[in-house]
């Protein structure tokens, strides 16, 4: 390596390190967390290896060797955390499994061989093959079950995939809702931001500077603060309702807080600058030159816009829309504060699984799917958008 290239490596090193530490490693960790499945084998190493040669036939329990292995695992295991995680892991797959396994641990000291007889006497669920099959199914070091569950799918004991019971099927709706909200927020930002940015691009530099300040001031305020402001504004007793009542426009306070409407208004407010900034820079460079040319060539105003200005400013729209869409897909605090339960987005559940139930597999799976769906949406949008390769770049 010569001095010059050493120098350039040194110059980019801080960024490379940051990207690795702050981006590649966490995402890789998340990806792996979504499919990692260590709990069962860690708590029941003997049982799972004894189960390897056993085939579930729908009714018969495994041979005595497997029972012995389970008792050995209980007695020789650490009896603490591993066993607990294992029971939670099984319970996630099949509710009720946790208490079965806990009972087994409690009576393990008190029963005598042959365990194939004594264990089912104490805990009847061990009498048939189902619980054993559940353990066997989940003894792989990697699993697709979190990802399947994030799409409301589950694996039955015979290994086929089917939809979960309708009272547990929330994630497909959740993803749909997240994308519907994000698309609407993006559309609203486009329709509000495009004319604003255009107007700004026609102002003198001085005036545009002041308007830009108005755009940027909310930008400098934390999202939490702005969302809280909406929380106050939209309340039943808040200033908006007070004004509406005061002017006699409505007879009773409108219900605005904890509605989809509140989510839209607060999210659009937070995200609008992200749309205006790129489209403004494109429009500023685009100028009125091409519109003038179109006018001189006989195009009336609306055709000047449709045939020339719009296609040439499209790269800015695309850039802004992609930013707004990607940010809104990941929105958490705003819907959580001003939306109702039916307005929560994927991030809310990611936070729920990560913080409340400590189910990192589920949290990671939701995150991974969100990433995939977002990437797919943007790829599709890119394909559908008219060819803008020769327009002004954002």
């Amino acid at each position: 390596m010569n001095g010059k290239s050493k120098m350039s490596w040194l110059l980019v090193a801080p960024l490379l390190i940051l990207v690795c530490v702050g981006f590649i490693i966490p995402i890789g960790y998340t990806l792996i967390k979504a499919i990692k499945n260590p709990e069962i084998t860690a708590a029941l190493p003997r049982t799972t290896s004894a189960l390897e040669n056993w085939e579930w036939d729908g009714k018969s329990p495994p041979p005595e060797a497997v029972y012995e292995a389970l008792i050995a695992d209980i007695e020789q295991g650490d009896r603490g955390r591993n066993y607990g995680s294992m029971t939670r892991r099984l319970n996630f797959e099949q509710s009720g499994s946790r208490s079965i396994m806990m009972k087994a641990r409690r009576i393990a000291d008190k029963i005598e061989a042959p365990y194939a007889v004594s264990l089912p006497e104490a805990v009847p669920e061990f009498g048939d093959g189902d619980i054993w099959q559940l353990i066997k199914q989940n003894s792989n070091p990697y699993t697709a079950r979190y990802l399947l569950r994030a799409m409301d799918l589950t694996v039955t004991l015979d290994g086929s995939i089917e939809r979960v019971a309708s009272d547990q099927a929330i994630f497909v709706d959740l993803f749909k809702r997240t994308f519907v909200i994000s698309i609407w927020v993006t559309v609203l930002c486009v329709f509000l931001g495009y004319p604003t940015a255009f107007w700004m691009s026609t102002l003198s530099d001085r005036a545009a500077g002041y308007v830009m300040l108005l755009v940027l001031i909310p930008f400098w305020t934390s999202i939490l603060v702005r969302t809280t402001a909406w929380f106050i504004l939209l309340q039943r007793e808040g200033p908006i309702n007070a004004a509406l009542l005061g002017t006699g426009l409505v007879d009773e306070p409108l219900r605005m807080i904890f509605t989809r409407f509140a989510v839209y208004i607060a999210m659009v407010h937070v995200l609008l600058p992200f749309f205006i900034l790129p489209i403004y820079s494109v429009m500023k460079r685009l100028g009125m030159e091409y519109v003038k040319a179109a006018a001189s060539l006989g195009a009336p105003p609306w055709r000047q816009f449709v045939t020339v200005y719009l296609p040439l400013s499209m790269p800015g729209v695309a850039a802004g829309a992609v930013i707004v869409f990607m940010l809104s897909v990941g929105f958490y605090i705003t819907p959580a504060l001003v939306g109702g339960l039916q307005d929560q987005m994927v991030s809310y559940y990611i936070a729920f699984y990560a913080n409340q139930t400590i189910n990192l597999g589920m949290a990671s799976s939701l995150a991974v799917l969100l990433l995939l769906f977002t990437a797919a949406t943007i790829a599709i949008a890119k394909k559908l958008l008219p060819e803008t390769g020769s327009g002004i770049r954002a």
Binding site: Y290, K292, A294, A295, S296, L312, T388
Partner: protein, 367 residues
């Protein structure tokens, strides 16, 4: 030039102010005849573009009227004016191919598809770019883009063509080539053209008439030879072509509009034309073009204007000619051109010569 009685385009007393205080175009009267190639020439900021933009309909005059073909057009929007325009940086639509750019004005006029195709092809052939029809503007060289812009401005048979410094972005050689090309188009299509430039050579070679602008006012308007040969004021004399501007004082006034001028820096008396009423003793600038300054053998050989002796202070080699500089003060120096070929003598600093010119070749103006 056609009938001057009924001008095609008529500016009458047109003012334009952007800030409501200063007129960037001030009391403009300008007639353009049908089929004419008229050039607006002037330094940057003199109001040429503004004048063009008012005719194109992008700017409204603050006062006065603009008539086109006998009718006022101030209230007609640009897209109904039917003028072809060539912008300085061409403004070719980057998202359309060359052919689509040319088809654009025809589509706006709802010309039938097959006719559009035929007309686009024909116009591209006129500018010799038929083979580039499918290129995007970003893939064209400067000269090609310029020709596409030209083609687009004429493809819809506009009533006239307006060009704002269309060759400004090209290098010298290409610029000269395109000057000829535009001139050829003007002849072939017999179309009225209003051309804006700050390059006096371009104006001289291309135009039927030139209007010299300064400070928002037309200083003089006329044919290239009128503008070059008999400038009406010091600004035009200085702006059109190279000119010597010598300090002097009127020593006598005479008949025929000729005056005698005492040249302060050369201590000599020379005759010149006067276009202004001047008194004996007035300080003046005497303008004489380098190519009209001659070197003579004897004092009387210069004719009635006389001659004076001076020393060469510098020689500048130009290939086909050499410029000799006389006079110590560079700002008020006198230069002349002498042809340079194998037989001519070599000039050196300090050579003593006699300098002379025809009285009608020199003009005096108030400084």
């Amino acid at each position: 030039m056609s009938n001057p009685v009924e001008p095609f385009v008529m500016f009458r007393n047109v003012d334009k102010s952007y800030d409501g205080k200063t007129n960037v175009v001030d009391g403009l009267d300008l007639d353009i005849a049908k089929g004419e190639f008229l050039t607006l020439l002037g330094p940057s900021g003199s109001g040429k573009t503004t004048t063009l933009m008012m005719l194109a309909g992008f700017e409204a005059p603050s006062a006065g009227t603009i008539q086109f073909d006998g009718k006022p057009i101030t209230d007609v929007p640009t897209y109904k004016r039917d003028f072809g325009m060539v912008f300085q940086n061409y403004a070719l639509f980057p998202h359309m191919s060359v052919a689509e750019n040319l088809a654009f004005p025809l589509r706006m006029r709802k010309v039938a598809k097959p006719d559009i195709t035929a007309k686009v092809k024909k116009t591209l052939d006129i500018v010799q770019l038929g083979h580039l029809a499918d290129r995007k503007p970003g893939q064209l060289s400067g000269g090609q883009a310029q020709r596409v812009a030209l083609a687009r401005s004429i493809v819809f048979d506009p009533k006239m063509v307006l060009m704002d410094e269309p060759l400004g972005a090209l290098d010298k050689q290409l610029r000269e080539h395109m000057q000829l090309e535009i001139k050829r188009l003007h002849h072939e299509l017999d179309i009225t053209m209003l051309y804006v430039t700050h390059d006096q050579t371009e104006a001289l070679t291309m135009s039927d008439r030139i209007a010299v602008f300064n400070d928002g006012k037309i200083q003089q308007i006329g044919t290239p030879s009128q503008m070059y040969g008999s400038p009406q004021n010091k600004f035009v004399a200085g702006f059109m072509g190279e000119n010597n501007a010598l300090n002097g004082r009127i020593s006598s006034t005479g008949e025929d509009g000729l005056v005698s001028v005492h040249l302060t820096d050369f201590d000599a008396d020379m005759k010149a034309v006067s276009k202004e009423p001047l008194q004996i003793g007035d300080t003046v600038k005497l303008m004489v073009r380098p190519e009209r300054v001659r070197l003579v053998e004897k004092a009387d050989a210069g004719g009635p204007a006389g001659a004076f002796a001076c020393k060469v202070t510098d020689t500048i080699y130009y290939g086909d000619h050499v410029r000799l500089v006389f006079g110590a003060d560079l700002n008020n120096a006198l230069t002349t051109r002498v042809p340079h070929d194998s037989g001519s003598r070599d000039w050196a600093k300090g050579d003593a010569v006699l300098v002379s010119w025809e009285p009608r070749a020199a003009i005096v103006f108030q400084p």
